[in-house]
């Protein structure tokens, strides 16, 4: 059904911390290995060993710079489907292949219905849809729907692959519809924000901004330089001659 649920019971999504993401790409390949054998199997790779290699990936990490000179910052920026509340990728779908689950808000593609018209990918401002050329259907991040409820996995493993693997703990998963959830608190605490709010898609996933940098001594309570110790006329090492025991 490509009409959107008016509201979803829970709003499952990711919170991505741009302050700690080191751009290691672990989430990228772990997502790939999980999902290539999962709900959307396979995540086809065209020309995998030659030029113009082109594969299906649900999660990609960009590197950006902004600012100049002293103020320049480098930011690694992971991006996967944001499971928008106002997901036009769903409403544009002519077949009903795209849908947003009313139970948890996950946006999915039913690959058996998809005709590969690509319209949903045009409708997604974020570039979160992935066309599998070989299969002729659209694929996308499933929020690891085949992990998060999977009774065949240990309870602690019922998290998205990208989240459990992130070495820098820059990815968090939870219910962003529940203001008391850990993720919602994190968002509140760190000023988590939406990407392209002006598009009106109301993404569920949130981004935590890079923290301000500590570039002065004062930022950590220190002075900006040290004063030479009083030498009391005993030369620079005068201060050393207190009696110490081993």
């Amino acid at each position: 059904m490509t009409t959107l649920p008016t509201t979803t019971t829970t709003k499952l999504g990711l919170v991505i911390d741009l302050d700690t993401c080191v751009g290691c790409q672990a989430c990228v390949t772990n997502c790939k290995e999980w999902n290539t054998g999962g709900h959307s199997a396979p995540l086809t790779d065209l020309n995998p060993y030659g030029d113009k290699v082109d594969g299906v990936w649900f999660n990609r990490v960009h590197t950006f710079e902004y600012g100049l000179g002293e103020n320049a910052r480098t930011v690694n920026f992971p991006k996967s489907c944001l499971h928008c509340e106002n997901a036009a990728c769903v409403t544009v779908c002519p077949t009903g292949a795209s849908y947003k689950r009313s139970s948890d808000g996950i946006v999915l593609v039913d690959h058996d219905k998809c005709i590969g018209c690509k319209l949903c990918s045009w409708a997604c401002p974020y570039g979160a849809r992935e066309f599998d050329e070989d299969e002729g259907v659209m694929k996308k991040c499933t929020l690891c729907v085949d992990r998060i409820y999977n009774e065949n996995l240990d309870e602690v493993d019922r998290q998205p692959a990208c989240v459990i693997t992130c070495p820098s703990k820059a990815r968090h998963f939870g219910d962003l519809g529940d203001p008391d959830s850990d993720v919602s608190k994190l968002v509140a605490e760190r000023g988590g924000y939406d990407l392209m709010p002006e598009q009106g898609y109301k993404p569920t996933n949130k981004y935590l901004p890079p923290r301000p940098r500590k570039l002065t001594g004062a930022a950590i309570g220190a002075q900006e330089s040290l004063q030479p110790v009083k030498t009391n006329g005993k030369g620079f090492l005068g201060w050393v001659d207190k009696v110490l025991t081993r």
């Binding site: 490509t2 009409t3 741009l18 990228v28 030029d51 113009k52 290699v53 082109d54 594969g55 990936w57 990609r60 990490v61 960009h62 590197t63 950006f64 710079e65 902004y66 600012g67 103020n71 910052r73 480098t74 930011v75 920026f77 991006k79 036009a88 409403t91 544009v92 779908c93 002519p94 077949t95 009903g96 219905k113 998809c114 005709i115 590969g116 018209c117 690509k118 319209l119 990918s121 045009w122 409708a123 997604c124 401002p125 974020y126 570039g127 992935e130 066309f131 599998d132 050329e133 002729g136 259907v137 924000y193 939406d194 990407l195 392209m196 598009q199 009106g200 898609y201 981004y207 901004p209």
Partner: protein, 314 residues
């Protein structure tokens, strides 16, 4: 946006087809066109042929054409589905109208009602097609009312030119038929000129700053997620050089509007067969011009996703 030839052909051909269908239906019902069997047959066949060829061509663009039938199910939310539904529905009155005209040489009464319905269907189908693009927020160059106006105006203008040609072919082109292109082509020209002015003047609200939420200077892409282009870049990251675009716009101005208009005026001034030749030149020109116009419609459209891949604006 990547200008896919199947989609360019689809939108231009079906646009002209629906335009022509609508005009024939209205003019036929109104009795302005003669209910001549062969003229009706050739004219409607051309209109429906363009529509059908366009629709078929659009399925080439599908990853799974054999499932195309599924595309009508979501008419409640999807403009593409609505377009599909209307396209199919329009075949019914259009077909009946055609039966009346071609077999019974009748275009009034019940057949006239069918004509009106076909015209409405054709008009709404063009609107739906345009709404597919108009509704896409991430593409600023499409997400505006010029898109609807453009599709409708160009559909009708090209339909009128095609109709004029067929009417000339059967020597049934009356003043209205001859005048229609002269009236509609300038409208379309104005709309398209307005569209280009609009997209030159405005930018998407989204920027690399809003895309990333990073503030404090322009956001520059240092490394893409993957060294080589991915689907998103190929599909949405199409870039056309400004110089190239301007050249194509000039071609479009000439072939889509100026030349067809001039030759349409000529049809008013010269007798057949010269008028017929003029009508043909107008048609050939607008057909070529539309391909350029439509190619640009895609090529000049910038998707917000490009903001993540180094585009300065969308």
């Amino acid at each position: 946006m990547h200008p896919a030839y199947s989609v360019i052909f689809f939108t231009t051909a079906s646009g002209a087809g629906y335009g022509m269908l609508a005009l024939m239906a209205i003019l036929g019902t109104a009795g302005i066109l003669p209910a001549d069997r062969w003229f009706g047959f050739v004219g409607l066949a051309l209109a429906l042929g363009l529509i059908t060829a366009g629709l078929l061509s659009s399925t080439f663009h599908l990853g799974r054409p054999e499932r195309a039938w599924r595309a009508v199910s979501q008419w409640r939310s999807s403009w593409l589905a609505r377009e599909g539904v209307l396209a199919i529905l329009t075949y019914i009155p259009a077909g009946l109208f055609g039966i009346g005209w071609v077999f019974l040489e009748q275009t009034s009464g019940f057949w006239g009602v069918m004509g009106v319905l076909a015209a409405i269907g054709a008009f709404l189908t063009i609107v739906c097609t345009s709404m597919i693009y108009r509704s896409l927020k991430p593409i600023h160059q499409w997400h505006n009312d010029w898109t609807i106006a453009g599709y409708v105006a160009l559909g009708f203008a090209s339909g009128a030119v095609a109709l004029s040609f067929v009417a000339h072919l059967f020597d049934v082109a009356g003043p209205v038929v001859k005048a229609l292109p002269v009236a509609l082509v300038p409208v379309a020209w104005a709309v398209k000129t307005g569209y280009w002015a609009f997209i030159d003047r405005t930018r998407s609200l989204s920027t690399s700053n809003t895309a990333t939420g990073l503030r404090g200077g322009e956001v520059r892409s240092v490394d893409w997620p993957h060294t080589q282009e991915n689907y998103l870049q190929k599909e949405m990251g199409f870039q056309v050089a400004r110089k190239h675009a301007l050249k194509l716009r000039t071609i479009a101005h000439g072939l889509t509007f100026a030349v067809p208009l001039a030759f349409a005026v000529l049809t008013l001034l010269v007798p057949n067969p010269l008028a017929g030749i003029a009508a043909f030149v107008a048609l050939a020109s607008i057909a070529a011009g539309l391909l350029a116009e439509r190619w640009l419609f895609f090529a000049e459209a910038k998707h917000t996703v490009t903001l993540f891949y180094g585009a300065k604006a969308a």
